[in-house]
Symmetry: D2
Subunit: 131 residues, 4 copies
């Protein structure tokens, strides 16, 4: 699979008093999307963590296009654009049916237990989407 | 000091689309109140954690009397009702000026690194409020 | 259905640096459990909210028995013990397979848009579990 | 004042089981930094909201340079780079003493109650930092 699709329902704890999802809470949905996408492709980052190979978010860019509201179900779409020597670039979107709500680029850096960059394990290359 | 007073301002991230503070988020304020109360009395739970002495919440009871809203400043009031052999009973309230918003009883159990109950260090007895 | 069962997977955003789920975050899972239990029984609290009938948490009591950790899947079990004139009493538990992690009693009060108690709509009586 | 400085202490609820602050939680600190910076400059966004003038985050970019941990106190530094016709560009940093932890660019768009862009009120121009 080269695109991950995760359904998420919006609950009260996702929203704020502006009536829509709080801007930081979408980052939780994006985390879940990346985790599930890796697992669906047979890559268990928790297992790597036990071996001292960590993936940390080094950079995130989010463009908010339209809000999600309480009770709606959204889809978190996840793909990998590029696997570099020490980093992985994810492209993610959140949609409500065909409506685009949010676009994001997230960069993971692979680090050791002293937070020093190290090479990304070979098997991650299988995550990259065909063009 | 036998009563801790912590001022907290309510921001968007505290609220939900009902227009008021989300019920679970008050528990973050209560955590901060307990931590600061201990520190003000010279007790550093983080230092204990480094020595393998942990304090975990075993029970919480909260009565919600009135809501807090975005932009308000509330006071978290913390005192200790009782220090038992392996537990500590906190009484906490959140107020907006004289108005009572919330009352809570929280029980900490003192555990070792295998989560087994152990005796509360002697110095905690100084936290107990005079009647 | 008289017992609601909701599966939840634990992600990084649920945990804290103690290595386990943060005590307030279980209250989000409990919220989701109550909402889904009502929906499965044909009761849409969002629809009631649009008509000015709100359900607010007046009291919660939680006993924490064992921690949940990152990557685990837990089950939120929800039933209604009692429907009173203006309130509803939920009994909830969170389990990891057969292991009980948490027990909770939550009281909802039914209020109008001025936060004054009002009678619980008749159809909620169908939520009560048979003994 | 052309730079806002907000002190924040890191509590358990800010962290995750990786032992450091969860990546989305810094966005709460950044929200607080922007709000306080505006207030210190005599601009009350809550008052504008009551008049139907909303400020929504349209874009955020965050570079994470080093982690913050439980018990540390960090400083959220906020300044405004530019006030456009319908948008405001914030530059924010989070530091622990002299150590840079995080850099961020946040774009607010000024909208009416139908979420349509509208002109930024004149007084916001006073927020822009001198070069």
């Amino acid at each position: 699979m080269t695109i991950g699709l995760l359904k998420k329902k919006i609950y009260y704890h996702d929203t704020d008093c502006g009536g829509v999802v709080y801007y930081a809470n979408y980052l939780k949905h994006l985390e879940e999307g990346r985790t599930e996408f890796c697992l669906e492709n047979g890559i268990n980052t928790q297992e790597y963590a036990r071996q001292g190979v960590w993936f940390v978010v080094a950079n995130i860019e989010v463009t908010y296009r339209a809000p999600a509201r309480y009770g709606e179900t959204v889809t978190v779409e996840t793909r990998v654009e590029k696997v570099g020597r020490t980093s992985i670039v994810f492209k993610q979107r959140i949609l409500r049916e065909a409506k685009l709500l949010l676009e994001s680029t997230v960069v993971w850096v692979c680090v050791n237990t002293e937070f020093k960059p190290r090479s990304v394990p070979e098997e991650f290359s299988r995550l990259v989407s065909a063009a």
